[in-house]
Symmetry: C2
Subunit: 169 residues, 2 copies
Amino acid sequence: MSLRYAVLGLLARRPSTGYELTQTFDRSLSTSWHAGHSQIYPELAKLEAAGLINLVGEGARRSKTYGITDTGRAELRRWLVEAEPDRSQRSESGLRLFLTPLLDPADRMQTFERDLAHVEHELAALEALQADQADTAEPEVFAPQVDLGIRVNTVLRDWLREQIESASA
Amino acid sequence: MSLRYAVLGLLARRPSTGYELTQTFDRSLSTSWHAGHSQIYPELAKLEAAGLINLVGEGARRSKTYGITDTGRAELRRWLVEAEPDRSQRSESGLRLFLTPLLDPADRMQTFERDLAHVEHELAALEALQADQADTAEPEVFAPQVDLGIRVNTVLRDWLREQIESASA
DNA sequence: TATAGCATGTAACGAGTTACATGATTGG
DNA sequence: CCAATCATGTAACTCGTTACATGCTATA
């Protein structure tokens, strides 16, 4: 059911076309949720049928812009505040980390180095985003969330560095 | 495809029945991957047909214990070391956090308090696990992973506390 | 002897991914 | 005018969840 609220939430931020939503899923939401256009277009149809969103305009290239309705806004708030969150996570990286102890030391180091390179890359991207946002009037992402992302990735980076160091010692 | 390797990985740790694997998914792997018995039993059949695991014993209550084969071990290593990891995550909590700025301050605080309570609970559980493990010969979970879990949850807890404080100030 | 927990399976449904398919507009 | 990108949709398939269904064993 989360896709429904993800779409509803993005439309609460601003009216958008399905195409724009697809891009937002890729750019801003990719770290926690993903959805392709083949999921989004049918979901928009369902949400419109349920009266939670409506068509607010049609533009070039037969684009259709949807906006959230008052009913939709109420339903979104209800979900965010009153519905019990599903705390479960699905992360292949977490699974891999869990299985890492099965590898021999050389293979384990190789995977840690690979992961470290990735985390450092992520961290650089987040720090660049934070610097950009400092001088943007309307930030695309809530600044404290970027900060949280940096903190979490820093912990990960340090943990990986310690694993690598303690093994080569 | 991850379920395949999750099952293979757990069987590489020790031979198990489907029932035991189901419990391990709930207890040790629930933070990164979940699978119910209705997924596990068919997967065991597929893995056996592929020659990656085999039946190593039958016990009481028609239980069937499977073990990993050499082929299975090689395939698991290949996946862990050579296959490009899928870094995508699926987390409803992350989605909720992303949408939090849409709420008015009172509602936002309510969700932060709810999340903080949950994180503090998690943290207590992880710290208890860490204390237990100190005097266990054969730890069920790799100690550095528990440590990582504690660090990540600590960052989350502090971030939530800051959000709550800065709003009530 | 009943009930709780061990233990395995299948079926139906819903969610998510990949592939297929088409049309419109802008810029080189 | 052609390629890239914008823009929307459907079909087939795989993965995951919930519900259904059954049988075994220990213990109270």
